[in-house]
Amino acid sequence: MLLIHCPYCEQDLPELEFAYGGEAHIARPADPSALTDEEWRDYLFIRSNPRGVHFERWRHVHGCARFFNAVRETVGDKFLMTYKTGEPRPSEEEVEARLKELSA
């Protein structure tokens, strides 16, 4: 079973306590009525779905119940880091460094 680090509980806890919440850092358009149908469709449904590093939301639903963000490497299914909602997305350098650390 995967262990996921909850940035609020500050502990590594079993995957079973968590729920996946889709791609992270997708901001709701400030004025939806100004969008074309295609732009609105893209906001609602179109996701990056990368092979590799993915920024995603998780919820510690059977724990502190908080949403937070995670960086996961989707090929090896490894969590690189997690951070609180509202904190900036980790930089490419930080992600690279963490990838190296994990593969070492």
Binding site: Y8, L13, P14, H62, G63, C64, A65, R66
Partner: protein
Amino acid sequence: MEGRMDAYARFRPESSTVPASGPVAIRILPEVARFSLRIAPADLGVASEAFGVALPGRIGEIAAFGSRRALCLGPDEWLLHAEEEEAHVIEAAFAERYAATPHSLVAIGDREIGISLEGEEAATLLSTGCPIDLERLAPGTGKRTIFDSVSVVLIREEKDRFTLEAWRSFMPHVLGLLETANRELAAGL
């Protein structure tokens, strides 16, 4: 279908002792008043004053005074326990502070049933359905977690004594699994 749902909704254990099935003593705990409190961490002082217990600020920590105790479940969420007779006093104390300090206090006493698990093998028994590393749940702390897909609150009262609370309608399921596993422990499986 409806008849069955009714039966679960009304599930009220008849006796406080579950028939002994193994090395771990499983007891149904007496009813208590329970509240789910949501309040901004910055206003914790106000809530502590209303409840009469200095609410803990760290997830997992428990603070108690007399029969009242508080467990920090999340960054802005606390589970409060008190004697049933005190429920109204607590509600009034929070209501008084509501205008100046917005918060949410929800009575959840009847929603849950608490059970106690006691014995040297209590942690082993719990580990049959709970995925967390119980070694790391220190005595005197607690957390919300999962037991065979049921969301529960687990408190480690002492090294070999746990309190587990779950929604009333899930309790027959939880108890059934615990009794089976307790029997397996007795059989040395």
